[in-house]
Symmetry: C2
Subunit: 186 residues, 2 copies
């Protein structure tokens, strides 16, 4: 079983409340992402702490019930924070960061995480590849800086398209880029 | 067998000729490194290309017969270059970068690489751990973002101290830091 990689650069998901603080009007779609219904927006924000700032971070749509900031460990050093490694939406004790737009800035407590490695797939993919009862796998990056990356969690939903999501640290450490095909190891 | 990690941040080794262009006088030792005779210097340079710049990069001593710039893939994207993954001193077709000091700046062709993962060890370590005839191993990083990192080359010399060197991309992807102990897999 091989899976196509999508490298997740740092990005921000917004709740309606925080959107309304930072921007006038709705999110505006810039381009669709691989996962159906997900899109990159024209809107960007700066991520700020008292130790550093990362500018022009893309907002992804649609809106969610929570505001979530996904960064890499490299980004976390730049910001001087220690966010936990978490699944989307699991924000208990996540790190606090301040989001800055041209209109406003607001500190969002328990918003910032490093995302767990994960694969999006459908129930049909689970059957097809014999993954019933398995919640995580490993994936193999080939090459001179290759690794077997562990704890790659399976996220199953009818709406999903088969895709591996790794952050930029994982991608750069293994010299991987979006579109690369990786072997899945059960 | 476990080995202690030293994370290699981006750094520069200078030849005498390039030292004389960039600085007045000899390198000045700031602190000793783990490997005997190696040291971090007070001197720093900026690494510049036509696409970007990384400031205040540490020079390591002593002088070498070649000038070598070791960066991560993350750094390479910032500089807009594509350096090869290489052992120290293997600089054929390495990337060109410009080194900048307060005194001067100079482009150094075939100087910039991403270092191969490696372990420094003595011939006694080779015997002790049964590594005769083996030129590379894997190492295992534990934890939620753990991996089995492959192609970790063995560098054997009487003068060496047992130490694993990984770049900041490998360290950050696996949430590792200097001093961590990793299992070696033959």
């Amino acid at each position: 079983m091989k899976v196509k990689l999508g490298v997740s650069n740092r990005h921000v998901h917004l709740s309606e409340d925080i959107l309304n603080v930072l921007f006038d009007g709705d999110l505006t779609k810039k381009r669709d992402l691989i996962q159906t219904g997900h899109y990159a927006c024209d809107e960007t924000v700066d991520i700020k702490t008292d130790k550093g700032i990362i500018e022009n971070v893309r907002v992804l749509g649609p809106l969610r019930n929570y505001t979530q900031v996904e960064i890499s460990k490299t980004d976390a050093y730049k910001l001087g924070i220690n966010p936990p490694v978490r699944d989307s939406g699991d924000l208990k004790n996540a790190a606090a960061v301040t989001l800055v737009s041209d209109k406003a800035e607001i500190e969002v407590k328990e918003s910032c995480i490093i995302a767990t490695r994960h694969i999006h797939l459908t129930p049909d993919d689970v059957s097809k590849y014999g993954l019933e009862g398995i919640d995580k796998v490993s994936v193999k990056a080939e090459g001179i800086k290759g690794s077997i990356l562990q704890n790659v969690f399976l996220k199953v939903d009818e709406s999903f398209t088969l895709e591996l999501h790794l952050d930029t640290d994982d991608a750069n450490a293994n010299l991987l880029k979006t579109g690369d095909l990786l072997d899945v190891i059960k």
